[in-house]
């Protein structure tokens, strides 16, 4: 079976969950080969990639790869596509992943599919567009299929493989060294899972009323091991940082469970969460449109319902 390259998404040397999902997906269609680009590679990372099915691990460990925006990683992948003629290349549909995919498509004269929620036989990708209203099946018709896949599209399954390492040396072009990252500023670290990767997301909207009140949303999130999200009304008001906004101009999330408190369900909010597997809505207005897509809804005051829910969950632990 031919190789499918999976670009490893890593932060501080830790492999992100979406990479394991991509390895699992690649394993269902060919032979997964992980591509590590940048510093931070370790035995622990290697073990993780092998555990989830990487037959091969291409390692381009030069520090300078991480010193510039997106372009160096695209050059590493383009080099491998030319040398190895893989059947396809999978990347995470994150801001950076999509940028790398776009640049790689031009370098290799290949088509690119963005934001797939599944990939099947013949690398036909499934996309969920217009805020989940339309399902599309699309495919690349020229070159090597390059596909970015949304986090949480596939459950990662352990499938131990060889993890045979191969070093890759790529001389970066001047163009790839044009936008230099001079400093990384870490604002929110916290113990909570990352919004787009989390299995459970608890979001608050205008109904939460203030930044301080978001503590009750955070408590419920922590009881469930969930990430915290917010509607634009809440981020615009400055109650919660912008990077946690869910929706059309925020993050797209697709968790197993999405709980929304004090969010009405505007189309622009739904665009970012409509593909969640289970949706729970808490709102005092029985007419709130988000109830239309709820699997379970409580019409009530979130200041009563949310703390009680948190308490009940703690009791059941």
């Amino acid at each position: 079976m031919s190789e499918i390259l999976v670009l490893v998404d890593h932060v501080d040397g830790d492999v992100k969950k979406v990479t394991l999902e991509l390895l699992t997906l690649a394993g269902s269609l060919g032979t997964p080969a992980a591509v590590w680009a940048g510093s931070g590679y370790s035995d622990a990372a290697k073990a993780k990639l092998a555990e989830y099915g990487a037959e091969k691990i291409y390692v381009a460990a030069a520090d300078e790869i991480g010193d510039y925006v997106s372009a160096p990683k695209a050059e590493v992948l383009a080099h491998l596509v030319a040398e190895r003629s893989p059947a396809a290349v999978f990347l995470a549909a994150t801001g950076e992943g999509k940028e790398i995919a776009g640049r790689l498509a031009i370098k290799t004269d290949s088509g690119v599919i963005s934001d797939a929620v599944g990939v099947g036989e013949g690398f036909v990708a499934e996309q969920s567009i217009f805020g989940g209203g339309v399902n599309v099946r699309s495919r690349v018709t020229k070159g090597t299929p390059i596909i970015t896949v949304r986090p949480n599209s596939t459950a990662p399954v352990a499938a131990p493989a060889a993890g045979a390492e191969e070093k890759v040396e790529v001389a970066l072009s001047d163009a790839a060294r044009a936008a230099r990252i001079v400093e990384r500023v870490v604002q929110e670290k916290g113990a909570r899972p990352e919004l787009t990767e989390a299995a459970i997301v608890v979001s608050g909207g205008r109904g939460v009323g203030s930044g301080e009140n978001f503590a009750i949303i955070e408590k419920l999130a922590d009881a469930l091991g969930a990430a915290v999200g917010a509607s634009r009304a809440a981020t615009d008001a400055g109650w919660y940082p912008h990077q946690f906004q869910v929706g059309q101009t925020g993050k797209t999330v697709s968790p197993q469970l999405y709980i929304a408190a004090g969010i009405s369900g505007a189309i622009q909010h739904r665009a970012g969460m409509q593909t969640s597997k289970t949706i729970v809505v808490i709102n005092k207005d029985a007419e709130a449109p988000l109830f239309e897509i709820a699997d379970f809804g409580v019409v009530g005051d979130l200041f009563q319902v949310v703390p009680q829910l948190t308490e009940e969950i703690e009791k059941r632990k």
Binding site: T94, I100, V136, R137, R316
Partner: protein
């Protein structure tokens, strides 16, 4: 400073958006066309940079005839002139074709700085800014929440999952903006009147030296195989809180094995 802002006309998200059943492309007639929201932030940033450093702001938009409405809106905000890339040969281009066509038009127009929104609301691929940087061989300063220009050097804050990166480069460069960057101005009545007289140049593929076999639906690098309207979600249970709403929600979560 010569700034070009790329602006896309998109169907209004508040109306029902569709694909056409014949060629599976976006049905642009089914919904009202509006300026892609993030592109208003791109126009605003261009105007602020012009106000601080002098120069000229040119709007570049590729799309069908009705794209002129979107172009006028950007001109009414204060841009100086516009280029409308409009040719039947461009119809149905994918991201590769679109980025190629826009890059050729940009070479023709000339630029020190190209500013885009970071994502459209219809296709939402978010790839065009990086693809333009790749095609033009200029630095990519994307997902910017802050832009500073000083002579020929440019600095941006690029948002990341953990916060932001400080990124530096030299002009010419490609920038894409996120909505955190500014608050777009509303066109004034004077601006709207003035926009009617501002020059809009229409370029076809030959004018922009775009190879016709690299653009359009038939020459795309990808295709839609089929599509279907998503089945509505099955109706769920909604209960009224009688003092036990939280407990009932917990029961539901337990039944689904979330707790």
């Amino acid at each position: 400073m010569n700034i070009v802002v790329c602006v896309k006309q998109v169907p209004d998200t508040a109306t029902e958006r569709k694909l056409r059943s014949d060629d599976k492309t976006l049905d642009r007639d089914a919904a009202d066309g509006v300026v892609n929201e993030l592109d208003e932030y791109a126009v605003e940033e261009a105007l602020r940079l012009k106000e601080a450093h002098g120069g000229e702001v040119t709007v570049l938009s590729m799309g069908p005839a009705k794209t002129t409405e979107t172009i006028r809106k950007a001109l009414a905000m204060g841009a100086d002139k516009a280029v409308h890339l409009h040719d039947d040969a461009l119809y149905g281009s994918d991201a590769l074709g679109t980025s190629y066509a826009l890059s050729q038009a940009l070479k023709k127009i000339g630029y020190d700085l190209v500013i885009l929104g970071s994502e459209s609301t219809d296709a939402r691929t978010g790839m065009l800014p990086a693809m333009l940087a790749e095609r033009l061989g200029t630095p990519q300063l994307t997902l910017a929440s802050k832009v500073e220009v000083d002579g020929s050097s440019i600095k941006v804050e690029r948002i990341t999952d953990y916060g932001y990166d400080k990124v530096e480069a030299s002009l010419p460069a490609v920038v894409s903006v996120v909505e955190k960057i500014n608050e777009p101005r509303y066109p004034s009545f004077k601006g709207i009147m003035a926009a009617k007289k501002k020059p809009v140049e229409t370029l076809g593929v030959a004018d922009a030296e775009i190879a016709a076999d690299q653009v359009g639906l038939a020459n795309s690098w990808s295709e839609v195989v089929e599509f279907a309207v998503a089945p509505p979600r099955a109706a769920g249970t909604v209960v009224k809180d009688e003092g036990d709403g939280g407990a009932k929600a917990a029961e539901f979560l337990a039944s689904k094995k979330f707790v």
